[in-house]
């Protein structure tokens, strides 16, 4: 075993994750970077492993990034987001209602049931509920948030929860549903949402999604090479295009963290993030 091997952690939210990281492992090896990966069933276990030094970099959901950043700060350490997908930048979630209903603003959701995704989904639960809260509507007090909790621990990476949420809306079981903009298009395309059946009454501000997180004290040379190879990947290169398509990007970009402010506000509401971190730490 090579002791210079860079070890990445990723969450197995879908079988294709193995194909993706096996493919990248080969690509990195071809470019002189010994690389291996460890799969976790949930982000909290991955964050704990990262803090314990079992992995050198983590392919993190935005919530897992916040968990790592917060835990690192408490330990006097520093977390850094070194790279992200082009498709991780500037996402929007939307709150949909049935087109025929009279609702036109968040205020109209008062007293209603609102379908959201998994409890730990930034895009389908945490951020939309935060934006509603900023409009003066608190879940549990002003409306009922109905969770569609497919694969908890995976931070909403599995879109099944959002699909179930819009199905509930279309069937009239809820008065609204919160989903990511990209899934709105997907559900129309696949027919889960009949054309013209729903409309948006609210869009969230822009937010960012996943990143590769590293902690101080890691193997700097290998991490620098890893980042350099990621940023150098070209969609024109057939060897990686297949993998980029599977991972849903055209280009790796440098990491940025200002796009997580909205999620941070959401996660801090009611102490959600602190409770999660306490769970990881224990």
């Amino acid at each position: 075993m090579n002791h210079n091997t860079l070890i990445l952690g990723a969450v197995a939210y879908d079988p294709k994750v193995v194909t993706i990281w096996d493919g990248f492992q080969q690509y990195f090896a071809d470019h002189g970077l010994p690389f291996d990966y460890v799969l976790y069933t949930n982000y909290e276990r991955q964050v704990a492993a990262h803090m314990a030094g079992h992995i050198h970099t983590a392919w993190n959901s935005p919530l897992a990034w916040l968990e790592t950043e917060r835990l690192a700060a408490r330990a006097g350490r520093r977390a850094e987001a070194i790279a992200m997908r082009d498709s991780d930048r500037d996402l929007v979630s939307t709150i949909l209602v049935r087109a025929a209903d009279s609702a036109t603003s968040p205020e109209d959701l008062r007293g209603q049931r609102v379908a959201v995704g998994a409890a730990d989904s930034p895009q389908a639960t945490l951020i939309p509920l935060e934006v509603l809260a900023q409009h003066g509507l608190i879940a549990g007090r002003d409306f009922e948030a109905v969770l569609f909790d497919v694969l908890p621990g995976k931070h909403g990476d599995h879109i099944g929860g959002e699909r179930d949420a819009v199905r509930a809306l279309v069937k009239g079981e809820t008065g609204a549903a919160c989903i990511l903009d990209a899934n709105y298009g997907l559900f129309l395309k696949e027919g889960t949402l009949p054309a013209g059946a729903v409309r948006s009454i609210l869009q969230t501000p822009l937010f960012d999604h996943c990143n590769f997180t590293v902690l101080d004290g890691g193997p700097e040379a290998e991490i620098a090479r890893f980042r350099e190879l990621l940023l150098g990947m070209s969609y024109a290169d057939a060897r990686v295009r297949r993998l980029l398509d599977l991972e849903g990007l055209k280009q790796w970009l440098p990491g940025r963290t200002e796009g997580y402010a909205l999620l941070a506000a959401a996660a801090d509401r009611n102490g959600y993030l602190d409770r999660t971190i306490a769970g990881i730490a224990s």
């Binding site: 929007v92 990209a182 298009g185 013209g196």
Partner: protein
Amino acid sequence: MTTVNLADLAFEQGGALLIRRAIRALDTGGAISVTGSTPDLAIHLRAWCRAEGHRFAPSGGGGTIVKGAAAGERWRDAVRAGDATPGGVVDAPPQRWGLAARGALVESGAPEFAFPLTEKQQVWTADAARIYAMAAANQWDPASSIPWDDVFELPPEIEDAVVQVMTYLIENETAALLVPSRFLAQLHPHFREVMQVLAVQAADEARHIEVFTRRALLRRDRLGLSTSGGQESLKTLVDEPDFAIASFLLSVLGEGTFLTLLWFLARNAPDPVTEAVCRLAAQDEARHVAFGMAHLREHVVADPALLGRLENAVRRRHRELEHTAGHNAEVFDALLLIAAGSWNHDDLRAGHGKVTRLLADMNEGRRARLAKLGFTEGQAGELAALHTRNFM
């Protein structure tokens, strides 16, 4: 800047197509403006642009799209898989062209297939397209092309002889179906016309098996005999791994010989159904022989050493079958009885004469085809005589 006005056309109901068309006309970095009156247009535009690698800036109900580099990058290293016309066949199509239509633009990074037959010289003939077109135009319907309902009754032992010959034909046509089918699955699909010829050849044999079976069971409820010698002979064909040799042994020598046999049966058929099934099958077999001859002739021209390999194959097969019965006495007797038409001495003598001439005609047909392939007169005569006594 071009404006695409979707008006009341929703993004997911065809609007995306119009936008894609407009973006195709742009260079990387070029921009279009999108307007429209459907609800949520900007939401869909933003998500779509993010997935496609374009930049998006909302304005009003729509926005501005700036074309990203990825759209062009996907096809940057794509290659054209030859040309759709027969003249566009390349000598050695890459395995990565895979199942792509000949002449299609193939994205780089397509999976690598493992077709064993990838050399034009091994398989190609300029005649393939013509032979396939002829085959497609001459497909016949077993239900309507054969007078199944004609009234006739044969003497019982003549009927038995017909059933025995049909049993033998089915067995042989099964070999003639399996051999091209096996190579069909090994052939690089770039050689489209050859692939089509082999496919229709297999379909022809499937139909022959059907009509021979139906004729055999027309007046009887069971089939005749299958001999070990017959199957040993056919097994050497089914086991042959080399396309040129298998094609030579099956199509040129085997089906060539069968062609003579089927015409003989059609001429001497004791009933109209036997006449029709043999005549129609013979028409198809003539094409199979023509294809085998055509591609082997071209192969020999390109690689004269092939003749030596073909000669060795005939000699090897002869040696393998030398110690088997090979000669199918049941079939031979049945042919004689069918040719005679009765147990009368004079008829039997005449029938024997016909069968003797049949064997001579078969041999002469093989000799002529061998000579046409490029063997000397001496080689052709010698190799024709070494052919299996099972005919196929």
